[in-house]
Symmetry: C2
Subunit: 405 residues, 2 copies
């Protein structure tokens, strides 16, 4: 990554100037080790806001309400609950989302239109509003609250996922903070989990939207855990100008640098989601090179990390590269077998469409590491993309066969 | 099914008149309990032939050659090997497919153009032609050979899958026979395994193709084991007129009856593939009703049986219907939540977009059976489709994490 971008140790969504956060245990989440389940993220200053949302046609009430609110391009706060998805309960989900927003707006003294809401958890049960009404006013916001907020959004996640970066714009230090949750029901082509990003840079809503989409397409939309798409997935980005840096202008070196940092933050969170996914033992990284178009490269890379047969082969440390070819073949990406080269952990196993006599024992040995890399050269163009996926273990099945009962 | 269609006990591809088959162990398949791995299916009379093939862009040499051969619309024989997919080995796969065809044509005394070939097994290794040259001439064909042929096509399948039906056309008894293999790498939208169908009815190639496509779309294209698509999948149908029944004409009651029987045979084989799939403990049947179009109904039904989260929930006997809603939502099928009703094993769990207070213990109890049925009413039209899938167990992962090594 660029030397101009610095990772801040122990960073969070409250690392950027002017953001406060906090969380509490309301009693909604009855599983998991981390019992915080209701959190608020708050900007002390007016902030530009952008979001990307699930493409699932069944959407949680919280998502529908946030989509409507964020259209205005500004927001002051986000309220989040885990444990209940607020989905598939009819009109009640809209009412409960709006009431939770109203409670938050009242607590913070900001207009209701400036509050966004996200929910994650079990589908088909109503938000326990009694618990929320009681707990929400008790949340304490602070500059250190980012870590508590990051824990409050978790469901079956095994750990919080956080990041903060610093970069310089117009002589001012600017920060990007982020946290994410996601353990299952994760598949490319949508914002496949919850992620919250903050920055003290000054960015108007139209540019903020463009930048968020570009970052999400290269990160959260390139990961796969289990081919499934949630009804609640949301990525939100708030930019509150508190750094005092000048307003970012499109197509400038400063905008490029910020874009690079934002994408880096999203990729870091996305990879953490996959690395610590339900039942995951290994991170799979698939890079497809020399594709005709970026779309082709992305489609092929995602097909590799999404394939159950590739996932199980990686879990077993089996260099079964035929499954990678099968996955690319079914992706719809153009392919000319005679031009394809395939590498596992940088060891070439196939070139010009035919297997090469690689040293199998050495490759099997290298696949015991926590990360397994596939690289495919298609020989048909110059586009390139990388996707990340979890492997598939018996533990995934065990975890997911006993979730709601 | 129609009372005019009779299931013949212990039937096979050689139940229809004029078909012989046989198989041998050539030594290609080094796993599985059933060691037959090279088989021939032969029609004593000229036969119309139709096929459907994998939509994967990486195709086995055997598939490419068979696609070319079958374009003429007639065939006398099919040669099949298991243990090696004859795929991803470059031009050698074409040469080996053609040589195997030539050996078969010489043995049977038929033109090479009239022989089709299918292969299934590991990708990325060449067909062991030395073994095939030695074993193929020793295959003995007989009227009882259908069962041996059905065993020779198996890979990790736990049992053969066969069917035979009888019906009456123009006062003559007509038969349909079939066998199939498929245990993993099975997903809708292609002919997702190997299946061979025979009939002694008289059907010209154009009608035969139409009928096969219709039957495959309602059966093999509606099943899912693991979301993956093989590079070798093929369904072949041979019609040799040996029954003496009159030539079937399109759009007649006889053609409708035959179509019904052909679809029934394919559905039976397709359900057996799912029922006895790798690591499967339960058959999932998903029916989507009141969809705007047949395509919408099929897409939604397939999304349900393809979802890893639905599969694991069924494995665990967990009535987690939110996952069914998630799966329909991501399928792209139009949905209006307020009109949706959802039944598990005929027990209604959701109606008008809101959960209903079903008796959970009774439903959990009913989900312990070997078959679990989901029924969804979309309330948007009149189209209806059914799909079948396996559940996802720890055993699937264990089996597939140690396949080639």
């Amino acid at each position: 990554m660029a030397p101009d971008i610095e990772v801040i140790p122990d960073g969070s969504v409250t690392t950027p100037q002017g953001f406060l956060a906090g969380a509490i245990y309301a009693g909604i989440k009855t599983y998991g080790e981390d019992k915080l389940d209701l959190g608020i993220l708050y900007s002390e200053h007016p902030a530009s806001a952008a979001g990307t949302f699930s493409t699932n046609k069944v959407l949680a009430g919280s998502v529908k309400v946030t989509q409507r609110q964020i259209a205005r391009g500004t927001a002051r706060a986000v309220v989040v609950n885990s444990g209940c998805a607020n989905c598939c309960v009819g009109e009640q989900s809209i009412k409960d989302a709006l009431e939770t927003i109203a409670l938050t707006a009242r607590k913070l003294g900001v207009p209701q239109e400036e509050v966004l809401i996200c929910s994650t958890g079990v589908i088909g049960v109503e938000l326990p509003m009694g618990l929320i009404r009681e707990a929400l006013p008790k949340i304490t916001l602070s500059r250190e609250g980012g870590h508590a907020f990051a824990r409050a959004i978790l469901t079956t996640d095994t750990r919080p996922k956080e990041i903060a970066l610093a970069l310089s714009i117009g002589g001012r230090q600017v920060h990007i903070g982020g946290c994410a949750k996601g353990a299952g029901m994760i598949h490319p082509n949508m914002a496949t989990m919850l992620a919250f990003l903050t920055t003290d840079a000054a960015i108007d809503p139209p540019l903020l939207r463009t930048m968020l989409k570009e970052a999400v397409d290269a990160s959260f939309n390139m990961i796969d855990v289990d081919n499934d798409q949630s009804t609640n997935d949301t990525v939100l980005l708030l930019a509150n100008r508190a750094s005092g840096a000048p307003l970012l202008q499109p197509h400038t070196p400063e905008a490029d640098l910020f874009q690079q940092a934002l994408t880096q933050a999203c990729v870091s969170l996305a990879k953490d989601i996959v690395r610590y996914a339900e039942g995951a033992t290994k991170l799979i990284e698939a890079t497809v090179e020399e594709a005709p178009t970026l779309q082709d490269a992305r489609r092929a890379a995602r097909a590799i990390v999404s394939s159950n047969l590739v996932k199980t082969a990686v879990y077993g440390g089996d260099p079964n590269w035929g499954r990678v070819m099968m996955a690319i073949g079914k992706s719809g990406t153009p392919i000319d077998e005679s031009r394809v080269a395939l590498y596992i952990n940088d060891i070439c196993v196939m070139e010009g469409g035919v297997p090469i006599p690689y040293f199998k024992n050495a490759l099997v040995n290298s696949m015991k590491a926590r990360e397994v890399r596939f690289r495919v050269r298609l020989g048909l163009g110059t586009a390139r993309a990388t996707a990340w996926g979890s492997d598939l273990s018996e533990a995934y099945v065990t975890l997911n066969s006993a979730y709601s009962t």
